[in-house]
């Protein structure tokens, strides 16, 4: 695989500043951020009651995710607005990063035989970081809502305390085992979110490179359909990442909230029973 093909999973370092490597995908993610800033200011400066083209696009994206969030939180507008910014910025950042390589001329800037720009999401560290953000938002906020219920979600002590007769022991053990599975599932979410995005973007790039290096005839027009496929899958993967992280966050918070409310009801019932 050496020679004409030049593929590496790790991004190439361009500069080293104080032991920290400044890699090609880091540089392009800075540019993605600048593009998004430009988009935001362009939309903000032209806000009107009768929307222009840019405003329609922006409103469409925000409206789509707002509807999804409303659905996920069961119509709670305050909560939906709280997480809207995070979800929409995840979507926009991943979308622009996936499409970064189609910006003309960016692929021709080469320093010391290394491309200066590379799609940021084809760097596993970046997708892993985004997935960890989702993981932390869902778990830390659930923890701050009710630490005991959050722990109880994974380590099911409640069912052990409820043992009244020998037949309950089996159920309690099963619950404990399911709790362990939940812990594994929560960690697997991080890996699956990040590996899905990374795999799609990186595979798209590798496919184009492999096809372009097959022979002289396949260099110019043959990769075009694969670029088109890359455009489509970049949009879909950004959408999937945003929608999945939305549902993880909302699902976690909803289970904790339900548990808290259930606990309150049980307490109220006990008080009633004591009073009568």
């Amino acid at each position: 695989m050496e020679g004409s093909l030049n593929i590496s999973v790790a991004p190439e370092a361009i500069l080293t500043i104080g032991g920290i490597e400044l890699s090609s995908s880091m540089i392009s993610s800075v540019f993605v951020t600048l593009i998004l800033f430009g988009f935001v200011f362009a939309v903000r400066s032209r806000l009107k009651i009768i929307p222009g083209n840019l405003q329609i696009v922006a409103e469409g994206v925000v409206g789509f995710f707002y509807d999804q969030l409303l659905q996920a939180y069961g119509g709670d507008a305050k909560k939906a607005k709280r997480y809207l910014a995070l979800i929409v910025s995840l979507f926009l950042f991943i979308f622009v990063s996936n499409q970064f390589t189609i910006i003309p001329l960016t692929q021709s800037i080469v320093v010391d035989g290394v491309n200066v720009f590379r799609a940021p999401t084809s760097h596993f560290s970046l997708t892993l970081a985004l997935a960890i953000i989702t993981f932390l938002v869902s778990n830390v906020i659930a923890f701050s809502m009710s630490p005991i219920k959050w722990m109880g979600n994974f380590v099911k002590i409640g069912s052990i305390l409820k043992i009244r007769k020998p037949a309950d022991v089996g159920q309690a053990l099963l619950d404990l085992f399911l709790g362990v599975l939940d812990i594994v599932g929560e960690l697997a979410k991080v890996i699956s979110l990040s590996a899905r995005l990374f795999g799609n973007v990186f595979a798209g790039e590798v496919m184009v490179v492999v096809i372009a290096s097959l022979s002289v005839f396949t260099r110019y027009f043959v990769p075009v359909p694969f670029y088109a496929l890359g455009l489509l899958s970049g949009l879909i993967q950004a959408l999937v990442f945003a929608v999945l992280s939305l549902s993880f966050i909302a699902g976690m918070h909803n289970t904790i909230e339900e548990a808290v409310e259930q606990g309150k009801e049980e307490k109220a019932n006990k008080k009633k029973a004591m009073a009568t």
């Binding site: 695989m1 999973v9 795999g199 990186f202 595979a203 879909i236």
Partner: protein, 75 residues
């Protein structure tokens, strides 16, 4: 020998790993088209949901792809 085994492993990983997602995606597409034929008014919504479902179904295939790429280019 090691090199040959590496390529064999990558090929097997991709070939076997593509099998499940292919079946799954076909199933998703078939069901979605069935639903669209039954209720053409909902076609847009079903289509976007189908794409999301397909992308999720695809993920196991993508994992094997990542493993195959790591076998080829990193190990």
């Amino acid at each position: 020998m090691d090199e040959a085994l590496k390529f064999l492993a990558a090929g097997l990983c991709m070939g076997l790993g593509a099998f499940g997602p292919a079946l799954g995606e076909g199933f998703v597409a078939g069901k979605a088209i069935e639903a669209m034929a039954r209720n053409p008014k909902m076609a847009d919504k079903i289509f976007s949901n189908m794409l999301v479902g397909m992308a999720i179904t695809e993920s196991t295939g993508i994992y094997s792809l990542v493993v195959a790429l790591i076998l080829l280019f990193v190990v």
